[in-house]
């Protein structure tokens, strides 16, 4: 695909090599897809898996994506199964009254018992898939009614769900969630840990996604790439910094 790679190199030249570049390039991949590959409709409604071994920067990457989307005026829904809402808000350095950020915290309730929901933070337990699903849907409605139509969803991470529930159950849950993202024309990213699940699980999950952002580590160096059934980028070397992922030039 000479056209696509041309596009990409142009853009990467113009921008600095931060994580946001990857994000920008990525979104531009999505945006351009319909021109470059007219038979592919990835644009809005995409569900993307973020896959790689532990400590390769996946969480940092999706958090940065999330922050970028919010800055661009998107409504953001963040589902947490490993960190508390408090931790995330601190990292994002965003005011609690920010109406563009909505969080579903699946950690706090099972640690400290009942916590009161607020407009922007809801508490669930990780096994209560119906509760999580209903809350995500409620957030979609809130955004929708307040005129926010562009929505990004982050799910960090599916691996936690798979620790508690069998693949079939998680698959059914994702079937509904990815369907909602598609119908609402949003974008969603789901983290999956490499090394925690068997091949069949990964293969089954992949059916639900439009593409995968892969991370890997080799000889102490970290890499990232994007793969879908239509396109694949080169592995790029990255460095994970305190609050972003940077591509090494």
């Amino acid at each position: 695909m000479p056209e696509l790679s041309n596009d990409l190199s142009n853009i990467t030249h113009q921008l600095t090599f931060t994580l946001n570049v990857i994000y920008d390039v990525y979104v531009i991949i999505i945006m351009n897809m319909s021109q470059v590959l007219p038979d592919v409709q990835l644009k809005k409604g995409s569900n993307i898996m973020v896959y790689g071994p532990a400590f390769t920067g996946k969480s940092m990457f999706v958090r940065s994506i999330f922050r970028e989307f919010i800055r661009k005026g998107y409504g953001g829904i963040y589902v947490l199964t490993r960190d508390s809402a408090e931790t995330l808000m601190e990292w994002l350095d965003i005011d609690y009254s920010n109406k563009y950020v909505k969080i579903i915290d699946c950690v706090t309730k099972s640690m400290v018992g009942n916590v009161k929901d607020s407009d922007s933070i809801k508490y669930e337990t990780v096994m209560d898939l119906t509760g999580i699903s209903a809350k995500i849907s409620k957030f979609f409605e809130d955004f929708w009614r307040s005129g926010v139509r562009d929505i990004v969803v982050i799910f960090d991470s599916l691996s936690t769900l798979l620790m508690y529930m069998n693949l079939q159950t998680v698959f059914r849950f994702l079937h509904i969630l990815t369907g909602r993202v598609k119908v609402a024309g949003s974008v969603a990213f789901y983290i999956v840990e490499d090394g925690m699940h068997d091949e069949r699980t990964i293969a089954t999950l992949k059916q639900l996604f439009n593409g995968v952002i892969e991370f890997k580590e080799e000889n102490g160096k970290k890499y990232i790439r994007f793969v879908s059934s239509f396109t694949q980028t080169e592995w790029r070397e990255i460095v994970v910094e305190e609050n972003r992922v940077v591509v090494v030039v």
């Binding site: 309730k109 099972s110 018992g113 009942n114 337990t125 096994m127 209560d128 898939l129 119906t130 509760g131 699903s133 209903a134 995500i136 849907s137 409620k138 979609f140 409605e141 955004f143 929708w144 009614r145 005129g147 139509r149 508690y164 529930m165 069998n166 079939q168 159950t169 059914r172 849950f173 079937h175 509904i176 909602r180 119908v183 609402a184 024309g185």
Partner: protein
Amino acid sequence: MKVITGIPVLDDVIEEIPEGKILTYWIDPEVEGNVFAMQTLFTNLERGCKCAYTTIAYSPEVAIGEFNEFGWDVENYENFSIVDLYSGYVGLPSNCQYNASPTDIEEVNEVMKKVIENFDVVVIPVSSVIDVCGEDSIECIGEWYDFAREKESRLICTFVSWPYPEEIEKFVKNNSNAVIRVGGVHHRVILGYYYGVVKVDWKNIKSKAILFKLVKPGGVRAYIPKILVTGPYNAGKSTFVHAVSMRAISVDRLGTTVALDHGHLEYKGFSIDLFGTPGQERFDPILKMLGREALGVILVVDSTKPETFPRAKQMLEAVAHFGLPYVVAANKQDLPDALPPEEIRKKMFLPEDVPIIPVSAKEGDGVYKVIDALLELLTGSWWVKENEPEVST
């Protein structure tokens, strides 16, 4: 003792849940429908029944916390017990009298049967049991259904309709004496919630669908959907509202609406409030205020006046902000120069999937087709289809 659902309107329709009956709340996966089972349980607990609540996806403490959020202090009732299928699963000790680990389905089976025998009302999250214990557990669940019938206990089941294999859905449906659907009003996102009776085998009932909101504290509260009837000046909005309503009032001056048209109609089990807006531009703020409250929009256009279409389009954009579903009533079709719907679609640049219904509000032709089209958008066609036989009556 008489056992009831404790859900508004539902109790008027089905009156009571007789002994040995299984009532299933059939819940859209994106809707917080568990509250229905909790409300049924608490209502009967207050009436003095012995009630058990099964929890599998979260701890007994969290379960009680959820009751408390709605203002239901279950923990203060001696007749209340929790069946704890959670603690054993996550490796914690349980302090409930009735508990089992779902990894051992035989143990679960034994405990559940004991509970069914000893309680008047037992809440079972059927789909969660399937989710945690696997699809094979449906056999066990079948045994509980049979056992409840035999012991004349009542089961209140929740079934979240994730995409399960059809056999499972059929099995649950066929084994339930009553099925109450709890659904979402889908339009790109879910904009509202409703419940309706799908099946009751002990009573001949007329279908009902009710929109609801969840109130904390309070629980399930029925409400009447507001439908906005908008359109350019003189398009026939007031005439339309009067044509479909059982009772309606308009605040008109010199033949034009200066405040609002308000009509009420009972249709296919829905109670609907229609609000006709004034067509003149200076009333746009009212339109905005109503848009925030409404669940759907009917745009009335005068099919003989294409010069008013740009204004109609502009009014649509005003309500589009709220993301509401809408249908177009192509009015005054009785006049010879009325444009057909497809012509109007082209002239107004409306997408293919927007229903445009030819009507004559004056003659009353086609006006209910407009309501049908909107209900279909609101309930994902399920309700309109299920109730088709009623249309003719």
